[in-house]
Symmetry: C3
Subunit: 132 residues, 3 copies
């Protein structure tokens, strides 16, 4: 298992981590299996979406802000309840098949670390499991 640290720069953003995940897969020496990217935080998450047009990741951030407003009568007193809810909706892991020693991402797919309560020092882990 490889742990990777990142620093996020704004309150809400999607950070492209595809290169780090790909490198971890190469270093694992697993030819055929699955790769699990895991986020051990409760106000951040991980997702896969389009990387070609940066507008897409901004649209995701903006629309999630509309659906789960920053203030909405939450009971949690730390001011980041919306970030917890967005993390629950996005999910704490992604699982991607590995074939020929590489991630089988689709043409337009990018792996994104989702920051919902930044900027902060964050981390995620990459575990690769071999098929027999």
């Amino acid at each position: 298992m490889i742990e990777i640290k990142i620093s996020t720069r704004t309150q809400s953003e999607l950070v492209d981590i595809t290169a780090q995940v790909s490198r971890a897969v190469e270093e694992s020496d697993v030819s055929s299996g699955v790769c699990v990217v895991y986020v051990p935080h409760t106000t951040a998450a991980v997702t896969i979406n389009e990387g070609a047009d940066p507008a897409v990741r901004q649209d995701i951030v903006n629309e999630l802000d509309k659906v789960i407003p920053q203030s909405d009568g939450y009971q949690h007193r730390e001011g980041n309840a919306a970030a917890h809810i967005k993390a629950a909706l996005t999910g704490s892991s992604v699982t991607i098949p590995v074939e020929g020693g590489r991630l089988t991402l689709g043409t337009w797919q990018t792996v994104y670390f989702c920051e919902y309560d930044g900027p902060r020092s964050r981390r995620f882990t990459v575990r690769v499991i071999a098929a027999r």
Copy 2:
């Protein structure tokens, strides 16, 4: 890893792919492990939900359209920003335990390919990992 192609028929729909996934598990010859269904697209996804009443999958499609409107001031110019956001909320993979060479789906569970920007030619992959 098995790749399966499907053609979707409308802009937004949930397509039952349980039979194809089950067959891939049988062909894998894995008795005990997990099955990962992966969608390599960024405006489609995969989920598990009720298959008995077709109204359920229509309710899911309709309600997602209400929560993430087709037009909502998005910056992405291709007209499918809502589809990208719905894909992020639904997720690009599902993981189902395999036991006795079969998926351990619950009584009412069906595996659905989620089309949010169709109709299109699409594909998904099925990877089965054995437990030791």
Copy 3:
């Protein structure tokens, strides 16, 4: 694979199942791998979020009720369409890396069984897959 039964107490609640999942990982005797928690229901789900402040899980339940209202012109006649949609948004499994024979949960992470159509008798399964 271990199956665990629980009884939920209200219509919508997040139930802390971290202790049961941790025990299943210990009993699996896998030192290094991943743990998959799977929910075989279509109106319940599983997620990971903060466990320290109970307000967080209540905020998640309340906000999901706002985003996906209990009544919203659904076609499904059993009165639990909203529960099906919330289950689709939350997801039927979580995957957590295992290292040193233990779940690698972050400091604030708790594993929650998500009941959206209770109270009911429910179950979930825990499968641990070893890395080679």
